[in-house]
Point group: C2
Chain length 213, copies 2
Amino acid sequence: MANSYIQSLITESLSELNLTAKQKAVLTASLKLFSEKGFERTSTHDIAQSAGVSEGTVYKQFKTKEGILAAIIEPFIQKVLPKAVAKFTAEMTKTSFPDFNDFLLALIRNRMTFAFDNMPQLRIILHEVTTNEAIVSRLENHFQKLLVGPMASIFKKYQETGQLVKWPTNRILRYIVTTIMGYVLPAALARQTINIEQVSREAAEFLLKGLKP
Amino acid sequence: MANSYIQSLITESLSELNLTAKQKAVLTASLKLFSEKGFERTSTHDIAQSAGVSEGTVYKQFKTKEGILAAIIEPFIQKVLPKAVAKFTAEMTKTSFPDFNDFLLALIRNRMTFAFDNMPQLRIILHEVTTNEAIVSRLENHFQKLLVGPMASIFKKYQETGQLVKWPTNRILRYIVTTIMGYVLPAALARQTINIEQVSREAAEFLLKGLKP
DNA sequence: TACTAGTGAGTGAGAGCTTACTCACTAAAA
DNA sequence: TTTTAGTGAGTAAGCTCTCACTCACTAGTA
C-alpha cells in the first residue's frame, strides 16, 4: 500500500522530467552506485557502463556529475518527502484513531515502510549530509515546516484526552523520530531488512510508556 | 574531567606511535580536513599544506592516503572507544547509584560529553560507515562485546529493585543509545553545540518513564 | 510514392586536469 | 661518517567533461 504509493511518487517524478529510456537508465544506475559506493567513489565511466550507455549520453542530459546527484536528491527532498508527509497527516486526521497507541503504531509502521522503500535515496542523503551543510539546514527546515506544524494539532487532541504528555511538539517528535531511527539506521548501514511489524510493536510499546502524561 | 581524560587518551595513542612533530601535524590536519570535507574530497596536497609540510613528508610515515585514515580510525575504534567504555562501566559499578534516575543521568551526561569531545572522529566514522560495511560490522561487534556484557549486570540490579523494566539488555541499550543520538546527531551535522546539562535532564526524564517496569 | 532536408539522441575518442604517489636530493642529527 | 627526516618537482593513472560525428526518424517537397 504505502509501498506502491511511494513507488508511484518516484516514477512520477521521473516521468515528469520526460526523459528517454537511456536517461532514466542513467538515473537508476546512478542511484544504485551512489548508494552502494558513495558519490565520490563512483565515476561517470561506472555510471555509463552500468546504464549501458556511452559517457557522452550521461552528459547530454546532466551537465555535470553533481547534476546527476541533484537530479536524485532534489526531487526527493522537494517532492517525495513533502507529498509523503502530507498524505500521511491527511490520513491521520481523517481516520482519527481515538487510542494514542493505535496512532503511534500506524505512525511507526508508516514511517518504517517509507524508509525501507526509499533506502537507496536515504543512504545517499545520509552520506552527503555529513559533508554538506546546505542539505542539513534544508532538511531541518523541512522537519519544522512539514512535520511540527501538522503534528502539533494532532498531538493536542491526545494531550487533551490525557493520553499524551504535555511536552512541546518538537520534543515529542524528536523521541518518536529517533526511536524509529534506532531501528532503521543499523539495518540501513548493515544492509539488512527487519521485521517491520514486530519492531513497530516494540517501538510503540516503549514510546507509549515514555510519552504517557 | 571526562574531557581531559579523553584528551589524554588521544594524545597517548598519538605519542605511542612515537611520531615526529611534523608527522603529528599531518594527523591532526587530516583529522580536521577529513571531518570537514570528507576523506575523498581531501587531497594529500591539502593535507600537506594544512600541516605545513611537503607532500613527501606525508608519505614518509603513511604509505597511502587510506593509511592516514586508518591511523585516525583504528586507534579510535581499538583503543579510545574500549578504554572509555571500560572506564565508565568500572566507575558505574563502583559508585553504584541506588537510584536508577541518577545512574541514567550520569550515563547520558558521560556519553554526551564523550561524543562532543570526539566530534571530528565521530563525524569521520559516520561518513565512512555509509560506504564501508567492514567498519559497520566491527562497530556492531564492539557494541555487543563491550557494552551489552557489562551493562547486563548493572541493569539486573535495577531490574531486581523494580526500577527498570525487564526487557533484554539489547533492547534497553538501544533506546538509551538512540535517545542520546537524537540530541547528538543533529548537533553534529549542523556543527552546533548543545547545553549538555539541560539536554541530559530532558533525555533522562523521557527514558526513565519509558524504561519503568 | 520517392526524395531530400532537418532534428536531436546517442557515441566514443581524447583534451585537459587533478590526484596519489615516487625518488633523487638536502640538511641535520647521532 | 652514517642515518634519517624532510623536500618538492615529477610521473602515471584516472577523472570529468567536450565535441565532431553518426544515424534513425520525421516532415516537407516534387
